[in-house]
Point group: C2
């Protein structure tokens, strides 16, 4: 779309229905100069025109175009590797693991990969300024425990994942697969965080084709 066509769309979007004469006036152009642009925009489906009414906007709003795109992007294609500890790990060792692995959230697991809890920097800070010895307290006492954990599946889209992070005011989601529907056991297969979203955001903003 040319610069001028964009200006026309903007005018019609804000002020439509509006006559061709009025649009020409607003752009300090003649009606004849404008005619090819109006034809293109109408044929492409962005504008419609009615006799004695003028042009009005019918194109897909930019917001919808972007929303469609975000819904096409799956969690499985953007998740990172989960960092896990066992329930008996001390709060001190959990903090050290966070520093070594450079993550803000750890997933607590049973039997290698079964999700038991989630522990954040905030949870660990709370224990660290408390009266107890961080080398004695197990991470199991500081974590959020199943079934109170908000999770996401690999097939959900990144918009759904972002919505959970915002709605529940958390920094990270375990990406899980249901191992055992009966016992509601979940296997941790990834990590989806606010950092993941910032990374997607930068990728979208870089203008590379997606």
């Amino acid at each position: 779309m040319t610069k001028r066509q964009e200006q026309i769309l903007e005018i019609v979007r804000r002020e439509g229905p509006i006559t061709g004469e009025r649009i020409a006036e607003r752009l300090h152009l003649t009606r004849a100069t404008l005619r090819p642009d109006l034809t293109v925009l109408t044929m492409a489906g962005f504008l419609d025109a009615r006799p004695r009414v003028g042009y009005f906007y019918v194109g897909k709003p930019m917001g919808e175009v972007i929303a469609d795109q975000l819904r096409k992007m799956k969690v499985k294609d953007y998740k990172s590797v989960p960092v896990v500890v066992s329930e008996g790990t001390s709060v001190y060792d959990a903090i050290v693991t966070m520093f070594l692995e450079d993550v803000g959230t750890l997933f607590v697991v049973r039997d290698q990969a079964v999700l038991a809890g989630v522990v954040s920097r905030k949870d660990l800070l709370k224990v660290a300024i408390g009266a107890q010895d961080v080398r004695e307290v197990p991470v199991g006492l500081a974590m959020t425990r199943m079934p109170n954990i908000i999770v996401v599946t690999p097939e959900e889209n990144v918009y759904e994942a972002a919505t959970k992070l915002i709605d529940y005011q958390i920094d990270a989601l375990p990406v899980v697969r249901v191992m055992d529907a009966h016992n509601k056991q979940l296997e941790v297969v990834g990590r989806f965080t606010k950092t993941t979203i910032a990374r997607i955001f930068v990728e979208l903003g870089s203008g590379r084709d997606i």
Copy 2:
């Protein structure tokens, strides 16, 4: 754009230059049925055609459309209120302030608003598991200090801000205004974090017009 027009664009994007006959074949349609769609797509600037060559794709890729949008969104319109403490505040009180205000990063200021440092949950956790008493250590000893602080201005766009968060691996940026160019003093006027980005992401994904 109709479903069929989208299919045509997709074929031309992948396989172009491609003749009208070939496109018709791929869609199991006649050349005549396809002609109006090809005309619309060509006039709208998505496709171009050359004799004996066929149709090729010239439309703006989706990636660029989104990138343009993110560059139009300014930090000043999305920043949140900064939470500040003074340099003499104890690490303990800084942690308590973080919990009370529910933020992950505090800005340390002199004279009410002059940026002196930035302190994160990670910085405070490091002190909290060390040998020193968190009630005795001032936050000034735990913070990142000027001029090593990465900042953003209200006029920068949200893509630039996101890029800084990712490139420097930090969670939050102070939004600043230059108070005194000579002394390089910066006034803290806001906070721009990975949470801000997640919130913008959800807003974009909701499909509301922007």
